[in-house]
Each structure stands twice: as C-alpha cells, then as structure tokens.
C-alpha cells in the first residue's frame, strides 16, 4: 500500500526518470540484438558486397586486386567446363527432385492408412535422411562397387550384369540420383504432416457422393497437399543444385567430368586454384539460376497450389 502511493508520487514528480526508463529499454534492445547486427554486417551484407565486387577483379590471396572488368563473366560463359557443370547439375536436379517428391508421397500415402506400428515404419524410412554428407558417400561408394558392391551383387543374383556405376560416364549421375532418392524420407515427413491436416469431412463428403478412391485422390488429397508439394519442390531445387560432397568424394568429378557439378567446379576454382574472382562469378551464376527457377515455381504456384482460407481476387 505504502509502496503503491510512493510509486504514483514518483511518476508525477520525476518525469525525467520515466523517460530514461524508455531510453534504457531502447538501449537494451540494441544490445540484445547486437550479435546479429554485427554478424549481419560482416557475414551477410559485407560478404555479399565483397563477393559482388570480386566478380570484377582478378585476385588470389597473395597478389593484390587487379581490375578485370567483365572478363570473369565472359570467360565463364565461354568455358566448356562451366557448361559441362551446368549440364551435369541440371541433369541431376531435374531427375532427383521429381523422383524424391514422388517417392516421398507414395511412402507417406502408404503410412497414412493407419497401419500397425506406424511410427516404426516412419523411423525406418526417415533414417537415411538423418545421416548425410561424407559418411553416406563412403557407404554408397561401397554399395556401388562394380564387383563386390551390394547393388551389383543383387543385380547379378537376378541375372543382370550391373553397370560400373561410379566408374562409368553414363551411370555415375544416375548413381547419385539413386542416393538422392534414398533420402526421400524428409519429404515423406512433411507429406505425412500435411495428410494429417486434411479434414476428414472432405473424404466423408466424397464417399457420400460416391467418388472413387482415385477420384478422391486427385480431387481432395492432391489439392489439399499442394502447399506441401510446393514447399518440398522449392527446397528440393535449392538443395539439389548445390550437390557437392558426392561429386568430390565418390568420383572427384569424373569419369571424364561426367559428375563435375557447379559446386565442385566452384570449389576447384575458389579453394584449390584460389581464383576468387572467377569463383565468385560462378557462385553468383548459381544463385541467379536457382533464383530464376524458384521464381518460376512461385509464379506457377497460383495455378496449382491451393491454400485454404485464401482470399481470391
């Protein structure tokens, strides 16, 4: 009671103190977010400006910066290895993205039927997606081994002589695609969450209307799941264009550059040959390609992605 009276008195008498309270909060706010501001200025804004600048210079760690104009870009556009890397990466991306979208969806649909031990199956399908990078690459090198690997031994038991996978110009990228499809469990998890969000009354209504299960699938499941498909598609494009570890570790870009991906080429130019200007040009080109593809998908989404509660124009 006495305290309450004291504080109201204080507020009337000491307006300056009240203002400084506000200022204190302001200062505290900036202090709290200061780690991010510093990080943003150095590692995001600063780095991006520097990276854009580097495109117009020829430099490595030892010599200074020599102005190079647009030559990094013109050189890149006429570089047959750069073209090859674009081709390899798009081949991989355009195969693996739809494939893992489809596989993820099929598994999710299967698991969504209320089977016994559902969470066990989910765990098993998701497990490959938990591990990634180098360990997975080492494991699959052994599986793709032309003579003693699991895959060719299985094929041989079925009476088929398997290809030489990582040692073959034609089969190295398909090998990566198989590995990519193996990681479809991430897509599956998101589909499962999406499927569980579809209101059951929609299915009941369809059944009353006498719709076949195929019709129900195309008219209810797919449209209701389209935001998830859209999300998986975007993330898939972004991820697959950055394929690197497999190409470096399993094939080192070979045979005969059949697996020279954009990121691997960037790595060689930037971190093996220290051509920072040229590597930055490649990095920006990769960014522009992924950005354009993403925008394309975004533009197309108006036609095929259905959002509940969306305000139609």
């Amino acid at each position: 009671m006495a305290q309450a009276i004291g504080s109201t008195k204080g507020a009337v008498v000491d307006r300056r103190r009240h203002l400084s309270q506000r200022a204190k909060e302001e200062i505290a706010g900036y202090l709290f977010i200061s780690p991010w501001i510093v990080g943003f200025l150095i590692f995001t804004a600063g780095a991006m400006i520097f990276s854009l600048g580097l495109v117009f210079f020829k430099t490595d760690l030892l010599t200074g910066f020599n102005f190079y104009g647009l030559r990094n870009i013109t050189k890149m556009l006429s570089d047959p290895l750069y073209h090859k890397s674009l081709q390899v990466t798009s081949y991989y991306a355009f195969a693996v993205v739809p494939l893992s979208l489809a596989i993820g969806l099929i598994i999710a649909l299967g698991l969504n039927q209320g089977l016994p031990a559902q969470s066990l199956w989910r765990t098993l399908y998701y497990l490959p997606s938990v591990t990634s990078g180098i360990a997975v690459a080492m494991l699959w090198m052994w599986i793709f081994h032309p003579d003693a690997g699991l895959l060719n031994q299985a094929l041989l038991m079925a009476g088929i002589e398997g290809p030489r996978w990582l040692y073959s110009e034609n089969w190295a990228v398909p090998a990566f695609i198989i590995m990519g499809a193996w990681g479809a469990g991430g897509n599956m998890l998101l589909y499962l969450a999406g499927l569980q969000g579809i209101p059951t009354h929609l299915y009941e209504a369809a059944r009353i209307d006498g719709a076949s299960s195929l019709r129900t699938f195309w008219a209810i499941t797919i449209p209701m799941l389209s935001p998830t498909i859209f999300f998986n598609l975007i993330m898939g494009i972004i991820g697959s264009f950055q394929i690197f570890t497999q190409a470096l570790v399993m094939t080192s870009g070979g045979p005969n550059n059949a697996t020279l991906t954009i990121m691997l080429y960037l790595y060689r130019k930037g971190f093996e040959q220290f051509q920072f200007g040229y590597a930055s040009a490649i990095a920006w080109s990769l960014f522009v390609i992924v950005l354009l593809l993403t925008l394309l998908v975004f533009r197309s989404s108006a036609v095929w992605v259905y959002y509940e509660g969306e305000v139609r124009k």
Binding site: G29, W36, W121
Partner: protein, 291 residues
C-alpha cells in the same frame, strides 16, 4: 430397413474380407519398402565385422562367421581418429553454446523490447534467410584467411556466435507466445532485462531450444564443406574430414575397416535421432527443415 441390412450381410462380409486382405498387402509392401531403405545400413554393419575373404564373396554373406572387432580397433589405433573425434566434439559443443546463447538473446530483443527500427531490422533478418550461402563462401574464406584463422577450428565456431537468422526467427515466434505480464512481474521484483531473459523467458523457450540444439548438432556433426576448405593438417581434422582420408590409396584401408569407421561416424547422429525422435520429427514438421 433391417431387412435390407440383413440381405446385404453376405456382401458386407466379403467387403470386410477384401478390406483386411488389402491392408495385409499394404503392410507387406510398406515393410518390404522399409527393408530396402534400411538395407544399406545393414550392409555397412555386416561388412564392418567381416574377414577380408568374406567381403568379396558372391553371393553376399549377411552374417559373418565371426564378429571381427579388430576392424574397429585397428584403424582407430593406426589413424588419429580419436583426435578427429575430439575436434568434432569441441566444435559441436562450442557451437551448441554459441547458437543457443546468441539466437535466444537476439530473439529476446526482438520479441520483448521496444526500440526504434525494430520492425525493419526484423524484416531484414527474415530476408537474409533466403540468401544463398554459396555467394558468401569466398568472401568469408578471404576474411578468415586474412585473419590467419585458416587451419584452425575458429572459422567453424566463431560465425555461430552471431546467431542464425532461422533460429532467431523460430525463437522469436516462440518468445512472442510468453505473456508479457511475466516480464512486468519480473520488473516489479527488481529484475533487469538480462535477468528477465535468463530467468523468465529462457526456461519457457526450452522446447524450441531443444529443437534448435538437435539440428545444430546434426548439422555440425555432418558438416563437411567448412572442414574441407578451412582445415589442412590432420591434427585439426573433424571426423567428417578424417573419414575421407580412408579413401587414400597410400594408407590402404580395407573395405571392412572403412565401413567400421563410417559406422562410428554415423552413430552419434543416429543415436540422437533415435533418442530424441519425437522432438526431432516435431521440429522438422514445424520448421520444414530436412535433416
């Protein structure tokens, strides 16, 4: 009505039988599919215990005649795997502290304190989530090279202490749901902002912090690219980079030992996933991030 139902009964039975039949078929397909997904792991474990002559045999053997633990002990003793493990644990532990601390501090600032330009700064933070990491790769390397930090663990650790936009966003959303009255109550009790952050908001953010910790752990453990560009000498290698040295033809490491070390590399991540599975899956569904 009841007469009609009775007339239908035989049909109903057939319908039920078909339903059960299809469910069994579906269960079988799901089970076989999951076995195919798991088979590479089983093959790895099986190979890692084999004797040399068993590795190359056709048709493949799944259960070796005896479990050869030497396949694990020998490369571990011959190569500096304990150093690789120690380095990886250092990076992972410091990065956990770094990301949890910095991201929650910044999130607290954005969620609970009023200051000029807050909304614009938060919009900038959101937009950085879409920026490509490959573009900043070369400049970041250049910076660390000029600082003389290449071939040390610092480039793998220091950047984490500035918070990641994604984690900040996640925590800020979470902190927004904590009632502001709690802050006022804390203030009346004489808590400053730092004490409010640490004693009130931090404990309430625990579920979200758990999700972030799991992802940070798996990402750091699996991280190959940063280790590859920044670390040169084996004494600084993380496990991801150390595993790659097994490929070298000079060392000549037989396949069963390679698989043993690969398994040892995977185990911590698999263990965290299996133990914290519910949290892990919940996190993926909330954030849309795939392992």
């Amino acid at each position: 009505m009841s007469a009609r139902a009775a007339a239908r009964r035989p049909g109903l039975n057939r319908y039920r039988f078909l339903r059960i039949f299809w469910r069994v078929v579906l269960l079988l397909v799901v089970a076989i599919g999951s076995v195919i997904f798991i088979l590479p792991f089983v093959w790895m474990v099986s190979t890692s215990f084999k004797a040399t002559d068993e590795v190359l045999r056709f048709p493949p053997i799944w259960i070796p005649a005896s479990l050869r633990f030497e396949n694990y002990i020998e490369p571990w003793a011959r190569l500096p795997f304990s150093t690789y493990y120690k380095n990886t644990i250092t990076v992972v532990a410091l990065n956990l502290v770094g990301t949890l601390l910095s991201s929650s501090l910044v999130a607290f600032g954005f969620a609970r304190l009023r200051f000029r330009g807050r909304n614009i700064l938060f919009l900038i933070l959101l937009s950085t989530m879409m920026l490509p990491s490959q573009v900043t790769l070369v400049p970041t390397y250049y910076l660390f090279a000029k600082l003389g930090w290449v071939n040390s663990l610092r480039p793998l650790i220091i950047p984490v202490f500035f918070g990641s936009a994604f984690n900040i966003f996640l925590l800020r959303q979470f902190a927004m749901t904590v009632p502001l009255e709690l802050d006022d109550a804390a203030k009346i009790d004489g808590c400053g902002y730092l004490a409010t952050y640490w004693r009130i908001v931090m404990p309430l953010m625990r579920p979200a912090l758990g999700v972030i910790a799991i992802f940070q752990f798996t990402n750091d453990w699996n991280d190959f690219f940063s280790a590859l560009i920044y670390l040169n000498s084996p004494k600084n290698f993380t496990i991801a980079l150390g595993l790659r040295t097994l490929q070298s033809t000079i060392l000549y490491v037989p396949m069963q030992q390679v698989m043993a070390m690969t398994l040892i590399t995977m185990i911590p991540v698999l263990a965290v996933f299996l133990i914290a599975q519910r949290k892990f899956i919940q996190g993926i569904v909330i954030t849309g991030v795939k392992g």
